[in-house]
Amino acid sequence: MSATAAAPAAELRWELPSPGRVGMFTLIAAEAAIFVIFVVAYLFYLGKGISGPTPAILHAPVFISVCLFSSSATIHLAVVALRKGNVARFGLWWVLTFVLGAIFLGGTAREWNHLIRVEGLWIDTNLFGTTYYSLVGLHALHVTVGLLLLGAVALFTLFRAVRQEHAEDVDILSLYWHFVDAVWVVVFTVVYIIGR
């Protein structure tokens, strides 16, 4: 929360929410609306397909989910470290977050590889394939975008361009990553718990 306007009237206390933070929350709301539609479509179409395979072929990807959920903690620790000015520790936690996210994406790739090659399920196979790949793929797309952003900051850190005063910016970026995590809580529940 930073004061934005340089007030000529000194007696006036004037603090507004930072535009970056408001902007990120608004973007998250818009993204959430997109996910809601895909989740609704997934739930509505459950069991409506007229040919197999069915969701019974899915295996809950527990390990990579734990990795993704943990990455919320590590990115938080990274931001806390940068707030305190400890850039080295920040870089360490940040890269760990990136690695956890990458493991998640790799896990999704493995899962899809299995579904396509072994189970013979692709997006045009049946209604289940269409909704499954769309929803999980939309989330994977968001993880990919997040990884690109995380990677960019990691590179900046490597070249010593990240300093304590960037804590606010990095914190705003971490909001997006938390959102990607939170969406996975919903998608995981819908696809692998309710949907099976």
Binding site: A7, W14, P19, T26, A30, A32, N126, L127
Partner: protein
């Protein structure tokens, strides 16, 4: 609060070569220039969409007319609807938001100027993509040119089977791209309004226009997502062989309807709330009174925003829903008339006892009040499910929503054009031509859209390219088309007035209307940085306080002068 100009002097601007100046416009991130770009872009498409409407009306002027083929007629109503909603109304309301909001809240620019430029160019290229379909829509199959699936593109008409070639792909892609631009614009607007207000401007002291745009931005954020999602699903169906809307494989055409209207109905409020915003600024200034019931106006707008998210399925009454669903959507749709009615009473109470100046902007606003009331009343008629079973899909519905969009939204947009034209251009428009435009348009509007209700009641379905004589529809269709001629004449006067006034109009000065909001404290047109020193406000009408130091507003406002 006067501002010294430290930018280009006029002679220096004139001295720069044309290419330089155009380059300046293309690469600009200034909110005022982007606002003007949005508005000019929308006016171009307004003319294009208007030509499409005129083609349709010429075709329907008499029974068994063959001015255009059925195929072209289908393309015309699809392109007309899509163009008017996504490439006229949306860019225009975002254009005014871009121009006015930072000036009104005493900020130097939007929160994210480059995102702002990005959003505009996405919208602009979305429109070009849509119109490129006239050239590129043939695709590999040699079928179809422009999209012809209607502006809400119901499944299964959009499937590969029924829509060969690429015309539907152009439609989907252009809406997807423009939709992302709109979301960017809404994110920017929210961040600007919440994060960049000048000192002293608490939420309760923002001009009503800014409040209304905040609600509108919230609606864009929540409603454009579903549109984007639905378009993505349609693309998955068309490009990757998905089955979302493929009834042969268990998919559902009704799901598309729900997803589209979850966007589509809030969209109406996304467009009408800015119209309310313009009326809420213009009516007080030309009544010489502060707005009546400011907090109630804000509350009513927020209520409209909430309720508008829960009315979409009244577009599906004729599809067949359960009795519970019908009842819910009847009640929610009727409920939204309550806060809207409150607003109309507040505008009337603002005018009541005021010293009303009937300048062109005020004329358009007064007409808006009456027309929007009638539009609301036919809306309540259609909100009742049994009535809708009878009238759904008829010209009555077409007349109803054109009454809202033309009689309500477009009239307020014209009011806004005339009201802020002096600020944007630095010159006055020609009052006499403005009045001529008003009267031509009022006559044309009522000829067209009053009489359009009647063939609807007589059973004329929408989207038919011709009809049999002797059903009692002929005379009404003729009158409707005659009205279009008046509207076209009105638009020509309007565009002519704008062009002439930009070049030759009298100098407007910074505050031609003796108004009260911060944009009028800057020179016309405002310098790139808006304010040399950021203003500090103590009331809802900061310029009133400056002009009347002996009787400032903040004495009478709750928490005034804080």
């Amino acid at each position: 609060m006067s501002t010294e100009s430290v930018g280009w002097t006029p002679s220096e601007i004139a001295a720069r070569p044309l290419v330089d100046r155009l380059h300046g416009w293309v690469t600009t991130v200034d909110h005022k220039r982007l606002g003007i770009l949005y508005i000019l872009y929308a006016i171009v498409f307004l003319v294009v969409g208007g030509i499409e409407a005129t083609v349709m009306r010429i075709q329907l002027v008499r029974p068994h007319n063959d001015f255009v083929s059925p195929q072209v007629f289908n393309q015309m109503f699809t392109m007309h609807g899509t163009t008017m909603i996504f490439f006229v109304a949306m860019p225009i309301v975002f254009g005014f938001a871009n121009y006015l909001v930072p000036l009104m809240i005493g900020a130097r620019d939007m929160a994210f100027p480059r995102l702002n430029a990005f959003s505009f160019w996405l919208t602009a290229f979305g429109g070009l993509l849509l119109y490129f379909s006239f050239v590129g829509g043939y695709g590999l199959y040699g079928a179809g040119t422009a999209p012809d699936v209607g502006w809400f593109a119901y499944a299964p008409l959009t499937s590969k089977t029924f829509s060969r070639g690429h015309s539907t792909d152009f439609w989907t892609l252009s809406l997807l791209v423009a939709g992302i631009g709109s979301i960017g614009g809404a994110v920017n607007l929210t961040a600007t309004i919440l994060g960049l207000r000048c000192p002293g401007m608490t939420l309760g002291k923002m001009p009503l226009l800014v409040w209304l745009y905040l609600v509108m931005a919230g609606l864009v954020v929540l409603a454009l997502g579903p549109l984007t999602a639905a378009q993505a699903m349609l693309m998955i169906d068309r490009y990757l062989g998905g089955h979302f809307f493929d009834t042969q494989a268990g998919g559902s055409a009704v799901v598309w309807m729900h997803f589209f209207w979850v966007f589509g109905h809030p969209e109406v409020y996304i467009l009408v709330i800015p119209a309310f915003a313009f009326a809420s600024e213009i009516i007080p200034v030309f009544s010489r009174k502060a707005i009546f019931g400011y907090p109630v106006m804000v509350a009513a707008t927020v209520a409209i925003g909430f309720i508008s998210m829960a009315v979409w399925a009244h577009h599906l009454f004729t599809i067949g829903m359960s009795a519970v669903a019908n009842t819910f959507f009847v009640l929610s749709t009727m409920a939204i008339a309550v806060p809207t009615g409150i607003k109309i009473f507040n505008w009337l109470a603002t005018m009541w006892g005021g010293k009303i100046h009937f300048r062109t902007p005020m004329l358009f606003c007064v007409a808006f009040l009456f027309q929007f009331l009638i539009a609301g009343l036919t809306g309540v008629m259609l909100a009742s499910a049994p009535m809708d079973w009878q009238l759904g899909g008829s010209y009555f519905v077409v007349a109803h929503f054109h009454y809202v969009i033309v009689g309500g939204i477009l009239f307020c947009l014209f009011a806004a054009f005339y009201y802020w034209f002096p600020k944007m251009s630095g010159r006055m428009y020609v009052e006499r031509l403005g009045r001529l435009h008003f009267w031509l348009f009022v006559i044309g509007f009522h000829l067209t859209f009053d009489f359009m209700h009647i063939p609807g009641l007589l059973g004329m379905p929408r989207r038919i390219y011709t009809y049999e004589p002797g059903r009692g529809w002929d005379i009404w269709n003729l009158l409707v088309t005659v009205g279009v001629l008046f509207q076209v004449a009105g638009i020509l006067v309007f565009v002519g007035n704008l062009l002439w006034s930009v070049l030759r109009g009298a100098r407007a000065g910074s505050d031609p209307w003796d108004a009260w909001t911060l944009e009028w404290s800057t020179p016309s047109p405002p310098p790139e940085y808006n304010f040399a020193t950021l203003p500090v406000v103590k009331s809802r009408r900061p310029l009133w306080d400056i002009k009347h130091p002996e009787d400032p507003d903040w004495r009478y406002e709750p928490g005034g002068g804080a």
